[in-house]
Every structure is written in structure tokens, then in C-alpha cells.
Symmetry: C3
Subunit: 258 residues, 3 copies
């Protein structure tokens, strides 16, 4: 039972997850995780071992961490950059086998740093799906210059193609910083016009918006709802995000339907 | 005994607390806390479970954390936003009972996100004081636009009224970011003129300045003294703040009387 | 064995340290450290107990932490500011004895906040070297105004003099923020011209660049190499830095020779 339980009128709704929260793990230790998840494990759906960080950690530690997350129903996956490194070296099969062996339940397919043809992208999604991984794809480039070249309609087409190919969710790139990429300008503010076109042409419940900054989380919650799917949340902002979703912080107090 | 003890000439003064340090807890785990407080528990007077974060944590965890803080003489209290949510829903009595049950020793009374009449504010302070809580009130609004409307003389009047009504301390709003609110401009710099008027018209030992940024902590220490009361300190900046108070960091070295 | 071991073609090189990583410890707890180092202890060469933070921590805790670091071959040292405080009070001998008693294996000699004559600086380096400490010196001032007065050729002369006097490494000041100091402008970007002159006139393998920001780490890696020596790395960025060194993050993917 939560503290201040009397605030929760509708027990069922209040205790379910409000939208997907995807957390960025940059190298947390197993013991730290065990205690940390006691506090906020119930609010997390996915955890990303950011970019190639899993490849510089000990195998046994990665396995142990994935197991700890699993106890809370949290699906772990390696960052898309690691997929890209392996794919570009012709090691996709080795990648799939190692992900399975380590215990990862989800995979991210992306082209943030390398070029992949639309045909290859589709095949990769289907191949990974066949191996029973939950598939998240990502739309966007890591380089500011490269990302700028993608038009909004290209983003929309890619999102819809990925979903048709079997992707479970599509992540809208925001990086760890939340600046100058995808829907964000160089101050981290949302490009409202592009955002509006995007959400009107895609199934929003299938999108996960990377939103590391509080003002971004507030924007998505106020404009889409408390159940919006958000990603790249810093591990120590999970409780804060949950209060934003529930109108328990000044920024959303009295402005959300919960 | 501290390391480099030979630096402390005046043992008594050097080991007492230098002003109040109020830390912001956004969801730390109990086990983490136990170890963390071994390092810096002696430097903390109050801990705030930020805004409504206590209401999305498990009841037993909140109780355990409050107990751990208590071992170091640290008084815990829920953020003012949670009081505001409960007060605006007519649940103030339930709020007081739950705070007592959970073990909170202090309370924050604020109107950062809602409107409360001066009369109600006074009554609430007295009611909470009657229940033997240490009372901290807060002056300032969470919204930049709303906060701008408050004149310096209105802030001063509210501070003095709160103290007359029985508040133990008055917090000067700074938020977690320390920007665009209260005494801070949009870069987080101190508005010097307003600051000077404020401290000349209020009992400064009763004020706690929210100062999450290092440059703000340095400003208050150099302009008020090492024993200035500071709040919204990030948990991992407590040791750093103590070095600033004691002239053990470049920013205050040779500039403080200790 | 690391996860995704198949990515490491050249086992020996891939598992050795790539350049020095010096981490900033602002007051981590011993228990936290034990778990943390299981994840990234192999990537760290030095840890700095920032500025005077060791002097506000309990003696037994400082000793315990140094021992924990030692198990991973990590040499601990107190920040240069603490040396400066002691030196300016005529307590240099007491400082050396206490550092030895606490277990510190390295020392930092600096003049970031006080003035020390070139002659005294040289003697201090030789004296500390005689006591078998690894010696790191630092070039740069804590104050933006003071730091600006140092010309690039003065920095170069000081670096070379320190090395001749017996310093093992020379640190290029960047502070915790990485802004407006040394090689960084007020946005944290590298002053390219000064950087080029500096590295052409000094033995680069003896320099440690304080580079707390990711864009700074990327710049040094792309312009010097994966084995560049970097300092003031936040404890939770060590794994991220290792991925940058190894081309496992978008910013350096395909751009490093490893």
C-alpha cells in the first residue's frame, strides 16, 4: 500500500501503470538496482542498457542485472547502437544469440549512426521478431546534421513501415541530452508543428518519446495524457515522472485527468 | 574524528552544524540511505520528500526512510505540493493524521500551485503547530508567470505573518532547477537588489533559501555567512556544500570566517 | 569475460586500459563503492577526493574508501585545494604525514586558489616525490578572471617545469563544470587554437585533461585518440566514457581505431 493512499479514489486505475516508462541504465550496479527497484520498480516497463554499454560490462553482471529487472516485469534491451555496430560488421546472428543467452527480452533496431536500406531494416525486424523478442525500433539520427535532413513525412512513413513489419513500439529519438534532435530544438523545447503532424499520422499508443528533460515530460503529459509512453528517463527521475503523470507536482497539478 | 583534523583549530565550532542544510529526496532507497548518511548525515537538518513523491512510494518504505533519517537527527517532511493537493480536496485532517502515522516530524505549508487566503494560511499553520509538527512555510509560486506577480514587499509581509502565526522557518522558493523563480533570474543568478531588501526586512536566521546550484550556494555563503540556511540541496552535493561553508573549495577559500 | 565478447578481436589490447581515467569522488559511500567498482573498477586509474571533501569526512571512512579503490589498482588522492589550504597555513609537513596515514598513494600539487612561487612549487613537488607519492600537478586557476591572465606559453612552461621537477602527470584544469576555464570557453567548447599549440609543445602522454562534459570527452578522443588521459569524470559516466573510447556510442562509432 502506498503512503497517502486516501488520495487514490479509483484503486485499480491508480495502481496500474500509466503508460510505458523506459529507463536509461548507463551502468548501475546489481546491488544498487535491488534496492532502487523496491522504490520504483512498479513504474518501469522497459530498461535500456544505453548504446554499447552492455559490451563493456562483465557478462555475469549483465545477466544478473537483467534477472533483477525481470523480477519486476521490466524488459531489458541493449541500445540500438550496439545492434548497429554488430550489423555493420556482419555479426547480426552472433548478436541475436548473445542477446538471448544474456537474457534480454527485447531488442532495439535503429539506424542512428549507420545506413540501413529499408529492405534490410524490414528483414531485420522480422528476423528478430521470429526469435520472440519484443521489438522496439527507433526513428532518428544521432548526428544533428544528419537528423535535420529527415522530413516529418519520412519519419511518419518509417514509423508505419516498422509497425507493419512487426515492431511492437517505435521510439522517437531524443538522445540522453534531449537537445537538437527529432522533435526537440537546441534548447530542448518541443517543435510543436512537427509534433502535431506526427501524432495525427501514427498510432500514438505505439510510440515511445525519448524525453529526458522535465519540461519535455510535462509537455507530452499535458498534450497527450498521463499515459503517454516516455523513454530515456534517468533512473533517478522515475519517481518524479510518476508524480507528473498523477498531478502530484506543480507542473501538472490540476491539469491531468487522474 | 575527521580526516585532516589538524585543520580544525576550534573543535567545538568546527564540529557543530553550520546553518541548516535541507536536502531534496526524490526517491532514494532505504539501503542507499543507510550508507549515504554514514558519510554526510551529520551535516543535514531537514530532508524534504520532494512535492508529492511520498504519495507514489510504498508506505513501509516511507516509514523506514523516515526512521533512518531520524537516527541522524534529521527531520523529514513531505513537499508543500502534497499539502496543497490534500488541502484543496478538503483532506487536510487526513493529511495531518497520515503524516503523523508515517513518522514525519515536520510539515511544509505552501501555496505554490493553489490559492489559499491569508486567513486560511494562518489557521493551517496554527492547526499543524498544535499537532507538534515543526512548521516550514514556503513563499513563492511554481509558475514563473505567477511568481513574477508577487512584489518583494508582499513576500516580506507573508514571511513575517507566517512567523507570527508560529512557523519555525520560512523557505524562499527556488524549485529543483533554481531558475526564473523567487530571487533567481532565468540563468539562476541572484537578483541582488531584491535580495538586499528581503534580508533587511526579515529575521534571516528563520529563512531557508532554496539554492540547488553551486553559484547560488556560494553567493549566499559569501553574502550572509557560512551558517546561512540552504535548501533543495541535491543529495550528492551535501559534502560539497559543507566544503563551501568551511572554505575548503576554491570558490570560498580564504573568504569565509571559519 | 565481457558481454558481446565476440566484438573484441584483439583480446589483449581490448582488455587493457585505454588511457588514464580519473574519476571525481564528491563523497560516495563505502558500500556504494564496493558495488559500483564491480561494474567499472577496471576502467579507472585515479580517483580524486574533490577539493577539500576528504577533510569533512570521517577518518575511518576515508581510509576504508581508499582501501576499496586500491583493490582495483586505483590510486586515490585529495584535491589540490586541500594541499593549498594546508600549504598556505604552513602545514605542508602535517599534510604529507596525514596523507600517508590515510593511505593516499598520490598527491596533487596546484595553485588554483593561492599564489606559490615557481621555486616553492618545484621544492614541494620534489619533497612529495621523495616520500614516494605519485605526483600529479595542476595547471590553471579556479577563478575565471585569474585563469584568463595565464598565457598559453606560460601554461606550457609550467607543464614542462613540473615534469622536470618529477611530476608524473600534469592535469589541465577544467573544474567540475568544464566551463570558462583553461581550454574551455563559457559554453564548454574547446578553444582549438590554444589546444593545438599546447599539445605540440608538451608530452601529451603526461597530460590529463579534465573533461567532465561528453562533448569534451568526444573532442579529446577524436583529436588525440582513444587512449587520451581524461579527468574529472563523474562517477556515473565511467562506463559511458569507455564506450566512447571504444567506438560503441554514436559520437565516436566508426571514428576511432580500436
Amino acid at each position: 500500500m502506498r503512503a497517502f493512499e486516501f488520495l487514490n479514489k479509483n484503486k485499480d486505475q491508480d495502481h496500474g501503470k500509466l503508460g510505458i516508462t523506459m529507463v536509461l541504465d548507463k551502468g548501475l550496479s546489481p546491488e544498487f538496482l535491488k534496492d532502487y527497484l523496491k522504490v520504483c520498480g512498479d513504474y518501469i516497463s522497459f530498461v535500456k542498457f544505453g548504446w554499447g554499454t552492455s559490451a563493456v560490462q562483465d557478462r555475469d553482471i549483465v545477466k544478473e542485472k537483467i534477472k533483477i529487472y525481470k523480477r519486476y516485469g521490466i524488459k531489458a534491451y541493449p541500445g540500438g547502437t550496439l545492434f548497429e555496430v554488430c550489423f555493420s560488421k556482419g555479426l547480426f546472428e552472433e548478436y541475436l544469440v548473445e542477446c538471448r543467452d544474456l537474457g534480454f527480452e527485447a531488442l532495439e533496431i535503429s539506424n542512428g549512426s549507420i545506413d540501413i536500406s529499408l529492405k534490410d531494416r524490414k528483414e531485420v525486424i522480422m528476423e528478430a521478431k521470429d526469435r520472440n523478442f519484443t521489438i522496439l525500433t527507433e526513428v532518428g539520427k544521432k548526428s544533428i546534421e544528419e537528423d535535420r535532413k529527415i522530413t516529418t513525412s519520412e519519419r511518419i512513413n518509417l514509423i508505419n513501415q516498422d509497425l507493419e513489419a512487426g515492431a511492437d513500439y517505435v521510439i522517437i529519438e531524443g538522445r540522453e541530452s534531449g537537445k537538437s534532435i527529432g522533435l526537440f530544438d537546441n534548447m530542448g523545447n518541443i517543435k510543436v508543428e512537427e509534433f502535431d503532424i506526427l501524432i495525427n499520422s501514427t498510432p500514438i499508443e505505439k510510440l515511445i518519446f525519448e524525453a529526458p528533460q522535465k519540461n519535455q515530460q510535462v509537455y507530452f503529459i499535458l498534450n497527450i495524457g498521463s499515459n503517454v509512453n516516455l523513454g530515456n528517463i534517468s533512473y533517478d527521475d522515475v519517481i518524479s515522472l510518476e508524480t507528473l503523470r498523477r498531478g502530484l507536482r506543480g507542473d501538472t497539478l490540476g491539469k491531468v485527468n487522474i
